[in-house]
Amino acid sequence: MTPRFIAQIGLTLFVFVMLLNAAAVMVYFERKLAALLQQRLGPYRVGPKGLLQPIADIIKLMFKEELRPAAADRWLFALAPILSATAAFTAFAVVPFGAATTLFGLLDEPMLLQVADVNVAVLVLFAVTSMGVYGIVLAGWSSNSKYSLIGGLRSSAQMISYELSYALALASVLVLANSLSLTEIVNGQAGAWLGVVPRWHLFLQPVGFLIFMIAGVAETNRAPFDFPEAEQELVAGYHTEYSSMSFAMFFLAEYINMVTVSAVAADLFLGGWHGPFLPESLGWIWFLVKVGAILFFYVWMRWTLPRYRYDQLMSFGWKVLLPVAVVNLLVTAAGVLYFGL
């Protein structure tokens, strides 16, 4: 029970609780921002400025009746939301969110603000994202209802299609950064050129960032790629038959996936926790700012852009995004060879 061990366990619990809080904050943030974009007020009654609205939502979801269709496969029906939520949380275990810190001198040597420091972090991230597909496929299948099945199959086909472009955009960053460890990738982005422009991968890889964000939005099944769960099209897609806490788990999984994609984008392209004016130990503030900015774009996109039809979505992913991602990787590799970046 060395102090370091206790600190690690504390960090794990802290990350877990913070992710749950992040989901709750996202619920409020999305509704408030949607309201502002649509020139109405949004939640304003529960608590000051409606800030306690997420708590009201959670209490409502907890007290709803838990239903299960009679012909549904019992084990898979129960397993699907668990799989989704577990994959969403696990993906964040390898994302670093702050510089190495000694916790005000309590520890002998600095500890990274990352739950698990593996040097193949990027691969682990990708592996856990692939597992997230199963929650959706099983939810669609086990509900034994045609809307759920169609929604589940379409949604998972969309996710695995955009995973390719996601991985290729990731690979372009790997070519620049020469390492699979997220901490090293972030640390390679410290400092600035000419003292003014930060050394972010965003400026070296603008196309890569764009591809990553588009693929990330498609991976998390958010607008404008949320056809499989659109209310007007498929009732509610794969989570039609779920209610109460199981539905809350899917909801939770979706928001945490959004947070994870934003956090990974901030780490890979926007320099993670490096930023001007603040010392290294307060870098997590910059990290929060960057993740918040990306989440803001997520919500903004959802309430501004119309939705893609399913075949348009698939053809875009395979015929446009994938070739662009491949060309981006080739150009990046050529650039690294010739300019020695």
């Binding site: 496969d73 898979l76 593996v118 040097n119 193949v120 691969l123 682990v124 990708f126 592996a127 692939s130 597992m131 597909v133 199963y134 496929v137 099983l138 299948w141 099945l149 199959l153 998972s156 086909a157 695995i160 299609s161 390719l164 699979l180 399913y310 075949d311 698939m314 395979w318």
Partner: protein, 184 residues
């Protein structure tokens, strides 16, 4: 020790894959078995192989299997000669040649295990481990470069073949999207 835990999970899951009748459960149990194998690879100081085991096998190939099982609606299977009782947990082969084949496989397994257990030298993990991905990459692009290129052509051929084989004869429909993904 972790090895025995992962090994037990892998064996139990694989046994259940072939022993229980529901193909959807079989696919999920095989994913569990792959997870246990991935843990074993981490114990063998091969984190790259562990990660790509999950990414490729558990994350892509098994999704393909699951799609096909769901699309063909292959939920129940009647074992030969044995009437499918509702809720029967195990599948038993009944016919002569099939049963002989299964027993031969068991005999093969027993022979392997006996041969390995009576091996003379102690298999010690004396050699160092090569776990860095850059070293693997270097090998892959120098010594095994030819195999690498041939494999990429193989995947291209498999992709084209799968799309052609699974295509319907009548005008394009939504089934085409699923088989396109099947060709990953």
């Amino acid at each position: 020790m972790l090895f025995y835990l992962f090994g037990a999970i892998a064996v139990a899951a694989s046994l259940l894959v072939i022993a229980q009748p529901n193909p959807v459960y079989s696919v999920l149990l095989l994913i569990a078995s792959f997870g246990a194998l991935s843990g074993l690879y981490v114990l063998l100081d091969a984190p790259f192989v562990a990660a790509i085991q999950i990414i490729i096998y558990a994350g892509a190939i098994m999704v393909l299997f699951l799609f096909v099982v769901m699309l063909l609606h292959a939920t129940k299977e009647e074992p030969e000669g044995v009437p499918a009782e509702a809720g029967s947990p195990l599948v038993l082969p009944a016919r002569g040649a099939v049963r002989l084949g299964a027993w031969l496989a068991v005999a093969l397994g027993i022979e392997f295990v006996w041969a390995l257990a009576s091996a003379r030298e102690s298999g010690d993990f004396a050699g160092g481990s090569v776990s860095s991905v850059s070293a693997l990459g270097r090998l892959l692009f120098t010594e095994y470069a030819f195999a690498f290129e041939v494999t990429s052509i193989l995947i291209l051929v498999a992709m084209v073949g799968a799309v052609v084989l699974a295509r319907r004869e009548d005008p394009p429909d939504a089934g085409g999207a699923a088989t396109e993904e099947g060709a990953r």
